[in-house]
């Protein structure tokens, strides 16, 4: 190992990491910096994560600080990025692998599901794969084809994996620190649409936001909006609109999709009696179905109206010009709320 930080932290003149107000992209970077400082078995690998600092600059400055042995630019080979991470993780490293866009995770599925997610179980705990796979996901930035997808549902029918999606800078850092420290593989989905959309006060030191705990992003009494990632803001926006009409919406930010915080979710629905689930992914087979199924299973008698799902349509994610027709919008959420209230 390059050994720059055998003693722990900050041996070099470093780019300022301890800002007060960070974007999600900066908070993600900050989490990696903190954890790489604290543990020299934490390494980063992926396409363009080194000299370029990542196409979204999330790894900017890391290679200068930790050197090319801990910040590894890989060939264009997603299966190798994850497959090598399996080898690294099972022998003592904590790799943070970056998949440049979620649309390009498919070639890595075999290594993710066939190996990373199973190593602990199949060896009955003898080997394990503590690794984080970071990937920007979702629409809203008008990039080329295959760059806007939300494939979380694929990962949620595969046990062994955890799936985490922050919706704001504070959670982004705290959840990523938790993910890096987790002893099992974690898929960390970054909502690229809001990578730089706003800033939050983010503590400079390391802190954790626990995996598996949802957050009540806004309290309310008439209806529960359930979302994650970029859709949390869409729900918060919709809540403002609803508030003007005297409708009080509670927004549950799931933060972790697996394990799912069923308790918080059900508690809220039991209180409000109505639920709307919002996600960017294609409707059929999306994770909204699981959420709706669990709510119906555990709170059927408390439901005053059928759960509505506001989701992407069952189509290929449209190119830029028609993207607006695909993505769930504030208006669609408002309309769905009106529908559950009118039932």
């Amino acid at each position: 190992m390059s050994g720059q930080n055998a003693e722990g932290r900050a041996l070099h003149a470093v780019p300022e990491v301890a800002t007060e107000k960070l974007t999600i992209a900066q908070a993600v970077r900050d989490a990696m910096l903190e954890e790489m400082d604290g543990n020299d078995r934490v390494i980063v690998l992926g396409e363009d994560v080194g000299v370029d600092g990542g196409v979204f600059r999330a790894t900017e400055g890391l290679i200068e600080r930790y050197g090319p042995e801990r910040v590894i630019d890989t060939p264009v080979a997603e299966s190798a990025i994850v497959g090598m991470s399996v080898g690294l993780a099972a022998t003592g490293f904590r790799p943070i692998a970056e998949i440049q866009f979620m649309g390009f995770v498919y070639p890595a599925i075999n290594q993710l599901f066939g190996h990373a997610a199973r190593m602990r179980n199949r060896t009955r705990g003898r080997l394990s794969c503590p690794m984080v796979v970071r990937m920007p996901y979702g629409g809203g930035i008008h990039p080329p084809e295959h760059h806007s997808e939300s494939y979380e549902a694929l990962f949620l029918n595969t046990p062994g994996f955890k799936v985490v999606v922050p919706s704001n800078p504070y959670d982004a850092k705290g959840l990523l620190v938790s993910a890096i420290r987790d002893d099992d593989p974690v898929l960390f989905m970054e909502p690229k649409r809001i990578y730089r959309a706003f800033r939050d006060a983010v503590p400079a030191e390391s802190y954790t936001v626990p995996l598996g705990k949802a957050d009540i992003a806004r309290e309310g009494t008439d209806v529960t909006l359930i979302a994650w990632g970029a859709m949390v803001r869409v729900c918060l926006d919709a809540s403002e609109v609803l508030a003007r009409n005297e409708i009080s919406a509670e927004v549950v930010d799931l933060r972790t999709l697996n394990p799912l915080d069923r308790e918080t979710m059900i508690e809220s629905v039991v209180k409000t009696g109505r639920a709307v689930v919002v996600h960017e992914a294609v409707r059929t087979g999306g994770f909204g179905a699981e959420i709706a199924a669990q709510i119906s299973e555990h709170a059927l008698l408390q439901l005053e109206a059928p759960i509505q799902r506001v989701t992407g349509f069952d189509v290929v994610f449209p190119l830029a010009q028609n993207e607006k027709h695909y993505l769930p919008s504030r208006q669609r959420v408002v309309k769905a709320v009106e529908k559950v209230l009118a039932f």
């Binding site: 630019d73 890989t74 084809e145 189509v315 449209p318 190119l319 010009q321």
Partner: protein, 357 residues
């Protein structure tokens, strides 16, 4: 018995036209002068529309655009070597050859401006849509080459990809299967030395990409990709070979991406001014012009006319682009299946209601 040679690997490189515009007469393929001028025109046309696209992008009239500047000789040379019925299976930096093969430029623009109709080429154009997932298109090249072989059609499949794409498993499977099945496929690697910020030597420890052909038992050759004659000669040899039923082959064309990776990239973050300048000196267009001028086939007046013609043709294509009716909202649904299932129809109706209200 002891230590014996079981395989001898030799990989050659072909160069014909040097940076000063001089050719190696012994290797120079037969091309008649008017065609040589056409080659030049093709390359200038590419440069013209590539430059225009960058401008459109800056003006917000175009989405992300991957420039082809510096890679024109490969695309013009291979296009010239292809026959009418041949299939082109591009990656995403092949606008030049796509247009030469008949894809209307305004559709290429439309695609990169975020309109799916940009990939709906005229019926007679045998071209696959752009493939963004790096390396995935190689497999289609093998599939189409197999298709043509099974149907015994007098056509070949020419498929393109970048140096970075050779690292993907799909490259390997595709070329290997092409070898096994003897498909009618020619694989062309545009080795522009960079995969976004990653230089070739971090992509593979192999000295050349052409030598990867040895892994598959098929012929491979490296050419100077900024030398249109070398590209044309190698492509002709490869295409004719597979057309005769002698199987697939691989061409590595060494070039350089003179522009950024895409309009979303800033190449100065990861590569040096000097490297760029060095390669600007090897500009394939400059080089061919020197040759044409030397041969008395080209002069300044012709150049002026050509530049004007190219600019006005490109402007016409921009106009055609801008005259396209916007896609109707329901078009996000209408091509999902040959016959739309009920749930998709239902969703389409809900969108239409929303749009109308």
């Amino acid at each position: 018995m002891p230590r014996t040679k079981v395989y001898e690997a030799v990989t050659e490189r072909l160069e014909i036209l040097d940076t000063e515009g001089r050719v190696d007469a012994a290797l120079m393929p037969e091309i008649d002068p008017s065609r040589t001028r056409d080659l030049y025109r093709d390359m200038v046309l590419m440069r013209t529309f590539d430059t225009k696209a960058l401008k459109l992008q800056r003006q917000g009239r175009m989405g992300t655009w991957p420039p082809i500047k510096g890679q024109e000789a490969i695309q013009a040379g291979v296009a010239l070597a292809m026959g009418d019925n041949d299939w082109l299976i591009p990656a995403f930096r092949e606008h030049g050859i796509m247009v030469l093969r008949g894809v209307p430029l305004h559709l290429v623009f439309a695609y990169w401006a975020g309109d799916e109709r940009g990939s709906s080429y005229p019926e007679e154009v045998r071209c696959f849509p752009v493939a963004v997932p790096v390396g995935s298109q190689w497999q289609h090249g093998t599939g189409v080459g197999l298709s043509l072989k099974l149907r015994d059609e007098d056509a070949v499949a020419v498929t393109f990809g970048g140096d970075g794409s050779t690292s993907e498993g799909d490259f390997h499977e595709a070329v290997n299967c092409a070898g096994v099945f003897g498909t009618k496929t020619v694989f062309v690697i545009q080795n522009n030395q960079w995969a976004i910020s990653v230089p070739l030597h971090r992509q593979t420890a192999a000295e050349t990409l052409a030598q990867k052909a040895h892994a598959y038992g098929i012929p491979g050759i490296q050419v100077d990709g900024n030398d249109v004659f070398a590209v044309y000669a190698a492509a002709t040899e490869a295409i004719e070979r597979t057309r005769r039923g002698e199987g697939p082959s691989l061409i590595e064309a060494v070039t350089y991406r003179l522009g950024d990776h895409t309009t979303a990239d800033d190449a100065s973050r990861y590569r040096s001014e000097e490297e760029l300048e060095e390669w600007e000196g090897r500009d394939p267009i400059l080089r061919l012009r020197r040759y044409l001028v030397e041969q008395g086939l080209w002069d300044d007046d012709q150049e002026t006319v050509l530049l004007e013609e190219a600019a006005s043709w490109v402007d016409g294509q921009v106009k055609a682009l801008e005259e396209m009716e916007p896609q109707a909202p329901e078009e996000i649904f209408t091509s999902m299946y040959a016959a739309l299932p009920p749930h998709v129809v239902e969703q389409m109706q809900s969108l239409l209601e929303e749009v109308r209200s």
